[in-house]
Symmetry: C2
Subunit: 258 residues, 2 copies
Amino acid sequence: MGKVYLVGAGPGAPDLLTLRAARLLERADIVFHDALVHPGTLALAAGARLVDVGKRYGKISTEQRFINRALIEAARTHETVVRLKGGDPMIFGRAQEELDALTEAGIEWEAVPGVTAALAAASALGISLTRRGIARTVTFLTPRVGRDETSSEWLPAALGADSVVLYMAAGASQAIARELIAAGKPAATPVALVESASLPEEKRFFTTLAALEAQALPRAAGPVVMCVGEVFRDRHAVDEMAHESLMRQTASERCQAS
Amino acid sequence: MGKVYLVGAGPGAPDLLTLRAARLLERADIVFHDALVHPGTLALAAGARLVDVGKRYGKISTEQRFINRALIEAARTHETVVRLKGGDPMIFGRAQEELDALTEAGIEWEAVPGVTAALAAASALGISLTRRGIARTVTFLTPRVGRDETSSEWLPAALGADSVVLYMAAGASQAIARELIAAGKPAATPVALVESASLPEEKRFFTTLAALEAQALPRAAGPVVMCVGEVFRDRHAVDEMAHESLMRQTASERCQAS
């Protein structure tokens, strides 16, 4: 009987993987990975069979059942099984379903933490999420329920915290801004959006809830985290004009790139 | 002119450092590190002068001013300066003061994210902070203001979130439980305490707010994160009796160790 390692792949850049994760990949026999894991990270698993479990299957429920079963079967025939998840495994993944299924099947497992996207975004912005005197609480959340659904259950947590980082915010930033303002968050609250944090194509935008509510941002090419709170006030005088000019610039970059 | 790298050392275990952090330490000329950084991590900086800025100076304000000035001076005489902070640099440290001082002095800098203690605790517990159907928001906070002060400004964020992880909770868990219950959090809310997450001496306790309020835990030997919320319900039937027996066990272990 083998052992399953539920491993955080970090936020994107292959060198933001932990040493422990790198060593596990190097001795893995089989690796089940999310769709967004960097090819440079997967290259570390030179002796392993790679199974992409991120995009191949239709409905989430089917997919999760498949992954659970595949992990159990793999542990019965391989010594070192790695389940490689984007960011940290214990936040906004389906870790618990997988760990519970392994426990129930009597398979030994271990979780290896990773750098989650919010922390990569904070480093990219050069902004402390808990800047002394401004923020002493930070909340991570996702407004998404299923693939295309959203819900407002996250609002109390977002309103109570000084700094808020919303995961999987691509395409939803205008709706999020609208909900936060309607719930009483000041419209002038600063927002920073980070797309593809830690990767060469990383983009950063400074704006406000009011500006986001007024006009949606162009479609993002990579994963986006949306950071809301006073600490995200850009100290280099970005105002709503700058927001609009950034939007134009981004749209034009996208056109040139395609 | 050199460059200053503000680097996350991760939660404790030396192999939970990122590859990028390890490479920076290997080529560092000088490293300013916190007191709690593992000797195995510092050993990577074989060619660097090591400066412990974590415990040598009395008052926090003096210490921070000293660190800011030391970083600026180091960057003027060394190529690669590493400021190594426990966990992630952008959460519950004084990152912003240091980055602002460097910017003001015209020194180039870069932040390198790390695995923060809350994520190491979640992996140690084998519990997803955002278990589907139970929690979709997670808040990180610290109840400490100065070295010995606490404040209740963190309560709205703690009450609004499904899962809460309190940093620097050692010695404060009884007071925190009391405040949370007084503010309306159900007394039966599960709590998990993780001491020295990711290190060989790591300890985990499952309890409830009510049990913690009734009796303080013994003094911890290492840093403690306190995790509060439904996801932290131990599925192995830990009740208040178990909490008491764990406390006795811990006290007796401590006596034997000393």
